[in-house]
C-alpha cells in the first residue's frame, strides 16, 4: 500500500510519537509548531503554537489529555491535547532536550542541555495540577556528558538516561542515586524506546549500532549493526521485529547521492539480529520512528521534513523466518 505522506512541517522532523491507542500521531520539528495528525488517513488536526524555536522533544500522557514539549527556546510547555491550549510554560537556562510523562501520567521528567556554561540537569515535576510544573520535585545535576535520551523504568521507580558519550545510566528516583552505568555504545545515544511491556528497550546510537537492553539490569541483549549513524529505533509490539532509521549525517547529505545516504527504514529480526527488509522513501536521514501500538503501521519523520506513515501489507504479517529443522 502506498504510504501516507504527511506534509505540514517546514523544517526537519525531530520527534514523532503515537498516543497509547494509536489513533493519533504527534510530531515535532525544527519549526516551532508541533503537529497532531490522524494516523489512519494522515489528516492534520491542528498544531500547538507557542514555541519560538526548534522543538526537540514531545510526549503525550496515557489518557491523551496532556501534551508535553520542550525545545531550543529553553522552555518546557504543557498543553491541553483536545484544545491545543497551553496550560503552563517554564523557562529554563538552556535548551530542553528530552521530556517524558511517567507511566502514571502524574509526573513529568525532562532534561536540559549543558550549554552556555550551564550544566545538564534533570527535572521531575508533578503535573496533576499543571500550575505545579515549576515546582520541581527533584532536580539532578548531571556530571560529565549530557543526557540525550530518557526513559522511565518499570512502575516509575527508576529513570534511565542515555548520554552523549554513549553510556547509559540508571537512577533510583527514591534516593536520586545512580544504580548502574553501562558503556556498551561508543557514541551519542540518539534515541531510546521501550518495548510494549516496558521490560526491554532499544537504543539508537551514532556509533552505527542499535542495541536491545534489559530494563532492570541494563544488560545488553542484542545488537543490530548498520553502516550509518542510527537516529531512532523502535520495537514492534506484536512481532519479533525492530525498525531502525538513520543514515548519513545531516551535514553530509548535500554532498552525496540519495542512494548513498542509506536513508531507508530498516527492519531487523529482534532475536536473530538479521536485517530482512528496507523501506525507501525519505530523501534525508530518518530522525524519529514509531510503531503503531497495534503493530499495524509505522511512522517515520526525517530530516527532509516529511512524515511517512506506512501500513503493513498482509505479506509482512505472513513472512515467517525459517528456523525450524
Amino acid at each position: 500500500m502506498r504510504p501516507l505522506m504527511l506534509q505540514g512541517h517546514s523544517r526537519a522532523i525531530t520527534q514523532i510519537k503515537y498516543n497509547r491507542e494509536g489513533d493519533l500521531i504527534f510530531s515535532a520539528a525544527k519549526d516551532a509548531s508541533p503537529c497532531l495528525w490522524y494516523s489512519h488517513n494522515g489528516e492534520r488536526l491542528g498544531t500547538f503554537d507557542g514555541h519560538n524555536g526548534t522543538v526537540w522533544c514531545i510526549d503525550i500522557d496515557w489518557k491523551t489529555q496532556q501534551f508535553l514539549s520542550g525545545g531550543g527556546d529553553m522552555t518546557i510547555r504543557l498543553w491541553d491535547c483536545e484544545t491545543g491550549k497551553e496550560l503552563n510554560q517554564l523557562d529554563r537556562d538552556s535548551p530542553v532536550r528530552t521530556s517524558l510523562f511517567s507511566y502514571s501520567g502524574n509526573m513529568v521528567v525532562y532534561s536540559t542541555d549543558a550549554a552556555m556554561s550551564k550544566p545538564c540537569e534533570i527535572f521531575l515535576a508533578d503535573v496533576r495540577d499543571p500550575d505545579q510544573l515549576g515546582e520541581s520535585v527533584t532536580r539532578i545535576t548531571v556530571e560529565g556528558p549530557k543526557v540525550t535520551a530518557l526513559l522511565w523504568g518499570p512502575l516509575d521507580h527508576t529513570l534511565i538516561t542515555g548520554h552523549e558519550s554513549g553510556k547509559l545510566t540508571q537512577w533510583d528516583l527514591r534516593t536520586n542515586k545512580i544504580i548502574t552505568t553501562v558503556e556498551d555504545h561508543q557514541a551519542t545515544i540518539n534515541d531510546m524506546q521501550a518495548s510494549k511491556d516496558g521490560t526491554m528497550f532499544i537504543t539508537a546510537s551514532k556509533d552505527h549500532t542499535s542495541k536491545l537492553f534489559d530494563m532492570d539490569t541494563l544488560e545488553c541483549l542484542k545488537t543490530y549493526k548498520t553502516e550509518r549513524p542510527v537516529n531512532s529505533g523502535c520495537i514492534s509490539p506484536n512481532l519479533e521485529h525492530v525498525c531502525l532509521g538513520g543514515g548519513q549525517e545531516a551535514m553530509e547529505v548535500t554532498t552525496t547521492a540519495t542512494s548513498q545516504g542509506k536513508f531507508e527504514a530498516r527492519f531487523f529480526h529482534l532475536v536473530f539480529e538479521e536485517e530482512f527488509a528496507r523501506v525507501k522513501g525519505h530523501f534525508g536521514p530518518i530522525n524519529s520512528l514509531g510503531f503503531h501500538p497495534g503493530g499495524t503501521q509505522y511512522a517515520s519523520g526525517a530530516e527532509d521534513g516529511y512524515l511517512r506513515v506506512h501500513n503493513f501489507d498482509q505479506s509482512y504479517f505472513d513472512y515467517k523466518y525459517d528456523f525450524y529443522m
Partner: protein
C-alpha cells in the same frame, strides 16, 4: 735539559748586545728537578706526531696477480692503475715482480701458475674500503682472480684473542611445510585483509587478517592485530607474507604463519621479491639522510637471511629499482646512461661491466626469457630507439627507430609472447628552459612478435588519449581504453601470427578508467575506479557478451583471485573514505557473492599460487572434458550448502530457545507487577489496547478510498 740551557745562553748574549739592560735570569734555580713531562708541555702537538702506522687504513693488498716478464710489466701496471684508480687517487704503489722462471716451469709441468701481489695506497681509507668491497674476487682474466684485502686485515687476523672460539653451527630450523595452504582439500584460496589501525604511541600498527575463501562462509586463518606498521605483501608464489616494522622486514609462512626470517633494515619502505622467491630487495630511502654508512638498498637471500649485496645510492627511477629476470639468474638496475646487469649467486656485475647506453630512459625484462628491452630518448637528429638485448650474450636481437617520441611505455604480455611499446608521439615540440612541451600528441602501439623469426613489429595508431592498456595474460588479445572525458571507448585487438593486429570489438561511449584481465585470460572486468557510482562491467571476450554490469557506490581496487574464479572489488579507507569501506566478492560472471563492510578497511590481497604443474596439453584435456568433472564438484557444493543451512538452522533454534527462556522469566515478572501498574493508572487495565472493555468506545469512520488496479509492465 740541554735545550733549555741553550735558550738561556742565547737570551743572555742577546741582552748584552742590546746594551745595558740586565735581562731576567731564566736559568733554573739551584737544585731544581725538572719533573714536567713532555706530554704536559706539548701534549696536543705530540698527539699529532706522525706515526709509522698512519695511513695504513688506506693501503690495500692485491693478491693473485699474474706474473709477467719485464717487457709486459708496464702494460700490466697501467691496466691495474686504471682498474684501481676508479676508487680514488693512488698515492703510492708497490708491485712485487714475482718469479718469472716459475711461470715457465709451471706452464711446462702443468702446475698452477704462480702469482704475485701488489700494495696500493690511496689518499683516504674510504677509497680503500670501496676498492676492497668491489674488487675482491674480481676476475682479472681467465686464470687470475684477484684477492683484495685491507692492509689492516693482517693485523686483525694476527691478533685474534686467545679465548676466541669457533662459532657453533646453528641448528637447522625447520619452518614446516611452507606450502601447507596448498594442501587445502577444496582448493579454496586465501586472502589477506589489511585494516588500518589506530596508531599507538606514534608508531602506526595495522591489523592483518587472513581469510580462507571457503564456501559458503569464509573462515579465519590468521588474525594478528598490529601485525605490520605500514602494509603487508605476499611473495610472488604466495609462500611468504611480508610485514613491515621499524627495524626492518619480517616474513611469515607455514601452517600458523610462523616467523620464517627477518631482515634488519631500519625504515625499509618498499620491498620486492625476486620472481622465484630466492631473494628479497628492501629499500629504505630515508637511510641516505639518517646514517653515515647508508645502505639504501639491500638484497637478501630469503632462506639464509644473508645480505647478498647492498647499494648506498640509487639512480632515481620508479620502483622496483631492481628488476629481476624471470629465473632469478640476473637482476638489473638503471644508472645514468647505463644499465647494470648483475649475476646471481655471485652478485657481481655480469661480464664485469655495465651496459653503456647513452640516454637510456627505461628498461624491462621479458617475463619468460632472458631478454632485456630498453628505450633511448630522442637526441637532436638521432631518433628514439627501442632495443631488445639478449643476456648474457648482450646481442641486440631487435631494434626499432621511432621518430617524434615524447615518451615510451613497455608492456610485456605475461607469457612473453608479445611486447607492446606504447609510444607517445608529438607533432609539435616547444623547448623552454628546462621543460620540453609537447603538443598534438598521438599514440602508437608497437607490437613485437617475440616468438617469430627476426621479431617482426606491427603498429597500431590511435589519435585519442590513452587511459589504460592491458594484455590478455594468456592469449593474444589486448585492450585499450581511450578517448576524451565524455567520449571514452574501449577497444579490443587481436594479434595473429604474421598479421597486423585487428580490431575485434569496440565498446563506445562507456566511461572506464581501468581494466582487469582474469589471470587465465578470456574474461575481463572494466571499471571506473575512484569515482562515485562507477560501473563495473564483466565481459566474456570469446564472444564479447557483457555478462553483468554493476553500479556499486564506489570502487577503489579490483583484484582477481589467482585462479580466476573470483573478483574482489574494494572500497579502501586509504582513499579517504570513512564510511562504507569494505569489499564485495563476485564470481567471474559478476554475480555478487557477499558484501562485507569493514571499518578502516585498507586492502585485500589474494594469496598468489605457484605456477600450475599441469602441462598445456593436460589443461586443454581438462577443459575439453569439463562436463565429466563438474558434476562431482556441484554435488560437493550442494552438500556443503545444505550442511551449512542445517547448521544455521540449529544455531537459530538455539538462539531462539535462549531468548524464549529469558522472555518467559520477564513475562512472569511483568504479570506479577500488574496490580501495581493498575494502581498507577487509576485501576484501568492498559496492558493491551482492548484489555479494558469498559474503556472502549466503538466509533465508525467512513473513509473514501478509491481503488485503482494498474498492471505494472516490465
Amino acid at each position: 735539559m740541554a735545550k733549555k740551557k741553550d735558550s738561556v745562553d742565547h737570551g743572555s748574549t742577546e741582552g748584552v748586545k742590546n746594551g745595558g739592560d740586565v735581562d731576567p735570569d731564566f736559568s733554573d734555580p739551584e737544585g731544581y728537578v725538572d719533573d714536567i713531562t713532555d706530554e704536559e708541555l706539548c701534549g696536543d702537538l705530540l698527539r699529532k706526531k706522525p706515526r709509522e702506522t698512519d695511513g695504513v687504513e688506506s693501503i690495500i693488498v692485491v693478491d693473485g696477480l699474474p706474473v709477467v716478464g719485464e717487457d709486459r710489466l708496464d702494460k700490466l701496471k697501467g691496466v691495474l692503475r686504471k682498474i684501481f684508480g676508479k676508487f680514488g687517487n693512488i698515492s703510492s704503489e708497490y708491485f712485487a715482480p714475482g718469479d718469472i722462471e716459475g711461470v715457465t716451469a709451471a706452464q711446462a709441468s702443468g702446475n698452477p701458475l704462480p702469482t704475485t701481489y701488489m700494495f696500493i695506497e690511496y689518499e683516504n681509507s674510504a677509497a680503500a674500503l670501496e676498492a676492497v668491497k668491489t674488487m675482491d674476487s674480481y676476475k682479472f682474466d681467465k686464470s687470475h682472480t684477484l684477492l683484495v684485502n685491507l692492509f689492516t686485515d693482517f693485523d686483525k687476523y694476527e691478533n685474534i684473542p686467545e679465548n676466541w672460539v669457533t662459532p657453533q653451527p646453528q641448528p637447522y630450523k625447520d619452518p614446516g611445510n611452507l606450502w601447507y595452504h596448498l594442501l587445502e582439500p577444496d582448493s579454496f584460496d586465501q586472502y589477506l585483509i589489511l585494516k588500518i589501525g589506530v596508531s599507538k604511541g606514534g608508531t602506526a600498527a595495522n591489523d592483518l587478517l587472513v581469510m580462507l575463501n571457503a564456501s559458503p562462509e569464509p573462515t579465519e586463518v590468521l588474525n594478528r592485530a598490529g601485525g605490520t606498521e605500514t602494509i603487508a605483501k605476499w611473495s610472488p608464489s604466495g609462500t611468504y607474507l611480508a610485514s613491515f616494522h621499524g627495524k626492518g622486514v619480517a616474513i611469515w609462512g607455514g601452517k600458523d604463519f610462523e616467523k620464517i626470517n627477518r631482515y634488519a633494515h631500519p625504515h625499509a619502505e618498499l620491498i620486492d621479491f625476486s620472481p622465484n622467491e630466492r631473494y628479497l630487495v628492501t629499500f629504505a630511502p630515508r637511510a641516505e639522510r639518517m646514517y653515515d654508512n647508508s645502505e639504501v638498498l639491500i638484497i637478501w637471500e630469503i632462506r639464509t637471511g644473508a645480505k647478498k649485496r647492498t647499494f648506498s645510492e640509487i639512480y632515481k627511477s620508479p620502483w622496483p629499482v631492481i628488476k629481476w629476470s624471470h629465473d632469478d639468474k640476473y637482476f638489473a638496475k638503471m644508472g645514468p646512461d647505463t644499465i647494470s646487469v648483475y649475476e646471481t649467486p655471485s652478485f657481481r656485475l655480469q661480464d664485469n661491466r655495465s651496459v653503456k647506453i647513452a640516454g637510456v630512459r627505461d628498461f624491462s625484462w621479458s617475463p619468460s626469457d632472458n631478454i632485456l628491452a630498453y628505450w633511448v630518448a630522442e637526441d637532436k637528429d638521432v631518433p628514439a630507439r627501442v632495443t631488445l638485448l639478449e643476456i648474457p650474450s648482450r646481442n641486440e636481437i631487435r631494434a626499432k627507430n621511432l621518430f617524434n617520441v615524447a615518451e615510451c611505455r613497455m608492456h610485456w604480455q605475461k607469457s612473453g609472447d608479445f611486447l607492446c611499446v606504447k609510444v607517445d608521439r608529438y607533432s609539435k615540440v616547444k623547448k623552454e628552459k628546462h621543460d620540453t612541451k609537447y603538443s598534438g600528441l598521438y599514440y602508437n602501439f608497437e607490437i613485437f612478435h617475440m616468438r617469430e623469426k627476426q621479431i617482426p613489429v606491427d603498429s597500431v595508431e590511435i589519435k585519442e588519449p590513452i587511459i589504460a592498456f592491458a594484455w590478455e595474460p594468456i592469449g593474444s588479445k589486448f585492450t585499450i581504453i581511450h578517448g576524451e572525458q565524455n567520449n571514452v571507448n574501449t577497444s579490443f585487438y587481436g594479434v595473429k601470427k604474421g598479421d597486423t593486429p585487428t580490431l575485434l570489438k569496440k565498446f563506445e561511449r562507456k566511461r572506464f578508467n581501468a581494466l582487469f584481465w582474469a589471470p587465465q585470460g578470456q574474461f575481463i572486468v572494466l571499471a571506473l575506479l575512484k569515482s562515485a557510482e562507477g560501473p563495473l562491467e564483466f565481459i566474456d571476450t570469446s564472444d564479447f557478451t557483457i555478462m553483468s554490469t554493476l553500479m556499486p557506490e564506489m570502487t577503489t581496487d579490483v583484484e582477481w583471485d589467482p585462479t580466476g574464479r573470483f573478483v574482489s572489488a574494494c572500497v579502501s579507507a586509504w582513499s579517504g573514505k570513512v564510511s562504507d569501506t569494505g569489499f564485495t566478492l563476485l564470481n567471474f560472471q559478476g554475480r555478487v557473492l557477499r558484501k562485507e563492510r569493514i571499518d578502516r578497511f585498507g586492502n585485500l590481497f589474494w594469496r598468489p599460487r605457484p605456477p600450475c604443474l599441469l602441462s598445456n596439453a593436460q589443461i586443454k584435456d581438462i577443459k575439453k572434458n569439463l562436463k565429466k568433472y563438474s558434476p562431482q564438484f556441484e554435488t560437493k557444493d550442494r552438500l556443503r550448502l545444505s550442511k551449512a543451512s542445517k547448521e544455521m538452522l540449529q544455531k537459530r533454534q538455539d538462539i531462539l530457545d535462549a531468548w524464549s527462556d529469558y522472555r518467559r522469566k520477564k513475562e512472569d515478572d511483568y504479570s506479577q507487577q500488574k496490580k501495581q501498574r493498575m494502581l498507577l493508572r487509576n485501576n484501568v487495565d492498559t496492558d493491551e489496547l482492548d484489555s479494558d472493555k469498559s474503556q472502549m468506545h466503538e466509533e465508525t469512520i467512513d473513509v473514501l478510498i478509491r481503488e485503482d488496479i494498474v498492471p505494472i509492465e516490465e
